[in-house]
């Protein structure tokens, strides 16, 4: 069995003492930061991203992945104990999770979330191991034209599927592509949009954009809002769910995993939409829908399973095609690129230790999360009571140090402040920053493939429609745009 020997290789890599330690460190740090109210997974990764800079490629990506699902997990703890949807992915868990906590069932709610996430994480990891090689082999046949239309599809989908305004989303993608243009043009060696500033010739650093757009802008937006937070401060007792809880939560977990795994692969949908969709599904299937919103355990298990499964399967397009499906995956892609790894289908062939090591480490990380979280839940609860007025100056400080450490140049710190201002203005004008980040990451790749495709086709733009695979992606892109214009779909998006 190919799969088994590959997995054996992966576990061999992941079980080395060094990688195990980085996996643990990533998961622990991710949970620690992610559990803090108002700090979502994306901010956590953007903030901790520079730490992994000085590591070799395999431990760096293992640690980043650990930070990612640790933060995701920490976010669900927050949404159960704090009546505040800190991040969109666990906003749905908040509805029934907090109600369970208020009824003195915080323990079972947390345990259910942990176990549902663990189950979904394992299935998601297995799916990556199964689908990755097949998809990667298929993708090896892609030429420049296929890549161009695939990226176009991913960008359009990410703009249209994220919550909020589709047209603004598309505009944000274009803006992101323009930010990606800054710096030296690979083909001609000409510096574009550098305004004579030597630091800009190298382009705008990834950390600068991610931290400015997400951490800085979000903190300012949080500071201005005046909603009081409601924190559950009662003791968490009786962690174990009852037999009835387990029976009630089992099928919703499986269904949530299935929904999440499908949504995770699609660009732009990600954990947020999948947890919402599965919550609606459970509510439809339930014998007594009125229990939802008043502490139904299905309302915790299903969305938690869905957002974790989606978080795992989102790695599939990123690892096999080199195309990120969400802003968090864009961070991962940037990390790989900065490590000097050419992303795309060749990663699996050239760096099997990286690919399979990462998969094995995901499974180990998911185990660690359950082990780490259930017994230590008391500590996480304490962290929730840390007031925001202590947190945000510290986050700003870490963002500054992180940005500075990337290039040891204060220019990056200044630029981050500028992007933070832009990010805040965009948030106020209800323009989603996630498509911008995706556009920024994919921009150079898109331009390169577009130019190459047209050069090969002697300037004939119909090449994108005459090559069959490229045509499929183009049709999908048009379909996505049509769905966006259809009023029914617009109503659905507004509902999320």
């Amino acid at each position: 069995m190919d799969l088994l020997s590959n997995l054996a290789l992966g576990f061999g890599v992941a079980f080395s003492l060094q990688n195990l330690a980085y996996c643990f460190a990533g998961v622990a740090l991710g949970t620690l930061i992610g559990v803090l109210p108002g700090v979502g997974p994306l901010v956590t990764i953007a903030m901790l991203f520079p730490i992994t800079f000085h590591l070799p490629a395999v431990p760096a990506i293992i640690m980043l992945a650990g930070i990612f699902y640790g933060a995701q997990y920490g976010g669900s703890t927050t949404s159960i104990l704090v009546n505040l949807p800190g991040e969109t992915a666990s906003a749905v868990t908040c509805i029934d999770g907090y109600q369970m906590a208020r009824r003195g069932r915080a323990g079972p709610a947390l345990a259910t979330a942990a176990l549902a996430s663990f189950f979904a994480g394992c299935v998601g990891t297995l799916l990556i191991a199964l689908a990755g090689p097949t998809l990667g082999e298929w993708a090896l046949k892609f030429g420049a034209a296929e890549y161009t239309s695939l990226m176009l599809m991913a960008l359009v989908a990410s703009a249209v599927m994220t919550q909020g305004d589709a047209v603004k989303g598309l505009a944000m993608v274009v803006l992101g592509l323009l930010v990606g243009v800054v710096g030296v043009d690979v083909n001609s060696g000409m510096a574009r949009y550098s305004f004579g500033i030597p630091e800009l010739v190298d382009g705008i650093g990834f950390t600068v954009v991610a931290v400015g757009l997400f951490a800085v802008a979000e903190i300012v937006a949080n500071l201005e809002s005046r909603e009081p937070r409601e924190v559950y401060t009662g003791p968490v007792t009786g962690l174990m769910p009852t037999a009835r809880d387990i029976r009630d939560a089992a099928w919703p977990t499986v269904r949530g995993t299935a929904v999440g795994a499908c949504f995770g692969v699609l660009p732009g949908t990600g954990p947020a939409l999948s947890s919402f969709a599965t919550y609606m599904l459970e509510k439809k299937l339930a014998r007594d829908p009125s229990r939802f919103g008043r502490g139904a355990i299905e309302g915790v298990a299903a969305p938690e399973a869905a957002n974790n499964a989606a978080a795992q399967t989102a790695f599939i397009p990123m690892l096999t095609l080199g195309i990120p499906a969400s802003a968090t995956m864009a961070v991962m892609l940037a990390a790989l690129t900065l490590q000097g790894i050419a992303t795309g289908p060749q990663v699996m062939l050239e760096k099997p230790d990286l690919f399979w090591g990462l998969i094995a480490s995901m499974w180990i990380g998911n185990c660690l999360l359950v082990v780490l979280n259930l017994p230590l839940v008391g500590i996480w609860v304490k962290l929730l009571t840390v007031p925001y007025r202590w947190l945000f100056p510290s986050i700003i400080l870490f963002c500054c140090i992180g940005n500075y450490s990337v290039s040891n140049n204060p220019f990056d710190v200044y630029l981050c402040a500028v992007i933070g201002v832009l990010g805040y203005v965009l948030v106020k004008l209800e323009c989603e920053p996630a498509p911008l980040l995706l556009g920024y990451v994919l921009g150079p790749l898109l331009e390169e493939n577009l130019r190459r495709a047209l050069l090969i086709a002697r300037g004939d733009p119909t090449v994108f429609f005459t090559r069959p695979l490229s045509l499929v992606f183009m049709i999908a892109t048009v379909l996505i745009l049509v769905v966006m214009i259809a009023p029914a779909a617009r109503g659905m998006r507004r509902g999320t």
Binding site: V174, L175, V220, L223, L397, P410, A417, L429, G459
Partner: protein, 151 residues
């Protein structure tokens, strides 16, 4: 322009896109455009700038029709203070060292919050400074001077 247009969400977003897209397209005129077959460095950014500008016109027109306003107040004060705190960090690290930069950033950033309690902020500054020196200078061995600049 009528005064309420200045608080119109989509009009402002549209204007922003128009200005940025227009600027991008104008600046890209300095770069060789090339042909569709052999694109110069100016081709891609020019196209993007024009597309962004068109999106901006659409969003602006829609804003004039719908009249949706920006939700909530603009938080200029926190925005300014946070921005200053970040800039201060970059400015002080080279010139005065990690410890002064950390303290300055924490104080200015904390002032952006709704409450500023002196005792707490002093305590926070002490703890966080010790933490960043321990983690970044000793732990991760980042080569920054603790006190005093490079020069």
């Amino acid at each position: 322009m009528k005064p309420d247009l200045w608080n119109n969400r989509d009009v402002l977003a549209g204007l922003l896109f128009i200005v940025l897209g227009g600027l991008a397209a104008i600046l890209a005129r300095d770069y060789p455009f090339g042909t569709t077959m052999r694109m110069g460095p100016g081709y891609f950014p020019t196209a993007l700038g024009v597309i962004l500008l068109l999106f901006g016109v659409y969003v602006l027109a829609r804003g004039v029709r719908s009249g949706d306003r920006v939700k909530g107040e603009w938080g200029w004060k926190p925005l300014a203070l946070i921005t200053v705190s970040i800039v201060l960090f970059g400015f002080l690290l080279d010139r005065a060292g990690l410890i002064p930069a950390t303290i300055a950033t924490l104080f200015v950033a904390a002032a952006a919050g709704r409450e500023f309690r002196w005792k707490e902020v002093v305590l926070l500054a002490v703890v966080m400074t010790a933490f960043s020196v321990a983690v970044f200078s000793w732990g991760l061995k980042l080569p920054y001077p603790l006190l005093g600049g490079y020069y």
